[in-house]
Amino acid sequence: MSAIDTRVTTPLARSHRAHLADNDGALGSWLLAPAVVYIVLLVAFPFLLSMYYSVSDATVGNTAVRFVGLQNFERIMQSNTFWRSMANTFVFTLMSQLLVVVLAKTLAMALYKDFRGKWIVRLLILLPWVAPISLGTIGWLWIFDPVYSIINWTLRASSLLPANTWPIWLGQPNLAMVSIVLVDVWRLLPLATVIILAGLSSIPQDIHDAAEMDGAGFWRHLFQINIPLVMPIMLIALLFGIVFTFTDMIIVYVLTRGGPFDTTQVLASLAFFTGVPGGDLAEGAAISLFLFPLLVAVVILLLTIARRTEIT
């Protein structure tokens, strides 16, 4: 870099302004500063404020915020709703991400082959990810409708549903959880698939050829070549999926509002209902901070993967 500097600055005596525009270090800082300042003010500062609120008595109405220590956390810990939401969040995340990884790997392998009409298939498979989440979820609200559910109609028409049963998808505790998991899988499957597909495409063809020459069958090829080589990428897809599911409240908000009887309440939606309609900013902030440890774990894993792939 310094070689370039001397080369371009020698010919003419430049004004101070031109000098700045050529000084790589200073220019670099100036170009970077606005973005960094913005991120500090609108991500880092609110995050710290959230931590402060969690140990205060902030509500929507009051302007004088007092420090109250760990009171909010104590109150949360004694609440059954909180523990139920915590458990629901983990069940929701684990079930949906397990399904997403298995399905996405299968789908990515199917899409890896060339076939006619691939582009339209890709477009149709991507739809759930690119359509606004809240609107896609409303589509599901209609699919799960207690009276006109198309799922029930189809099951009844193909006589898979006994005469006197009519599942209320969003109204029965276990079915409601199944429903929100299903919608989350639907929404995140495309992202995981395209990420894994990118990983599959990056495996050099010689490796596949060599394996075939050595007579490796489908399963052997899958478990000894395909999966190990795509592992880092699959893990990245999984980590993003975990972050998006763990911290999401849109699906729950639109489909069940946490009901019936808080059986689909998750931490994110509980934080929202406590903090915004409930007006208790302090308790809402305290609940939402329980999301943070998992995020830290995910970040550490991501960094480890990034570093390891950089070395090899």
Binding site: V36, L127, I133, G136, D145, S288
Partner: protein, 284 residues
Amino acid sequence: MNATAFTWKRRAAKVGHTVLIAAFVIFTAFPFYWMFITTFKSTLDLVDTQNNPYVFNQPPTLENLDALFFGTQYGVWVWNTALVGILVVIITLLLAVPAGYSLARLSGRWGRQLAVAIFLTYLIPPTILFIPFSRIVGELGLQDTLWSLVLVYPSFTVPFCTWLMMGFFKAVPPDIEEAAMMDGLSRFGAFVKVVVPLSSAGILTIVIFTLTLVMQEFIYALTFITSSSQYTVSVGVPTFLVRGDVYFWGSLMGACLIVSIPIAILYNFFLDRFVAGFTVGAIK
């Protein structure tokens, strides 16, 4: 293995492959087919449980779309979303493009760490930030205005777009700038006049992503906005059109479909770059 058995095996594999793909496509695309057919069905057709719901039992109708555009504030919400989208795109470009260049070329060793740090802020979810933001927006007197969204939305577009732009700028060969600088341009001049035009595909990509992220956003708009004339589409439809016991499913599905399909098609063109951003350099 003889030749016929081999052909049969291949044919079976091909059928299996097609069935598998078809099953996945039905899973992902069915809700959209369902939105489509619901949008154009008459109300009588929708509520008659004797009908086969997969097809039109009565002639298709435009009455639901008519009700949507002339009976609700849907048009206003679409306009609001577009307005916020354009302003957020401008802010994002002004912040992320220079920052991406700086991280790609001018910052040396600490640049890599800072770039990763900026990317990671993308992982801090709105569900942690919306509570403090609701207070900040209130203090600034922006509650219930679109300006609150314009202020806050870049907090999730800037980190991701900076990261993407950095990738695009790294792909531009340094020789091109060096040649421009030999010809008398300053480093900054070379960036503005040579590198930015060369990266127009990258800039277009972040414009599309910013627009889609703005259209998707839900939690902040739900928190800051209370009057229906200020809603964006993603919040207006589920909170204002889904209210009480009477659902106007035809209009609702139309509202979802109209916004989703154009974005989906647009997005499809830029998918590969987007994936490159997510894989965090794990693919070389």
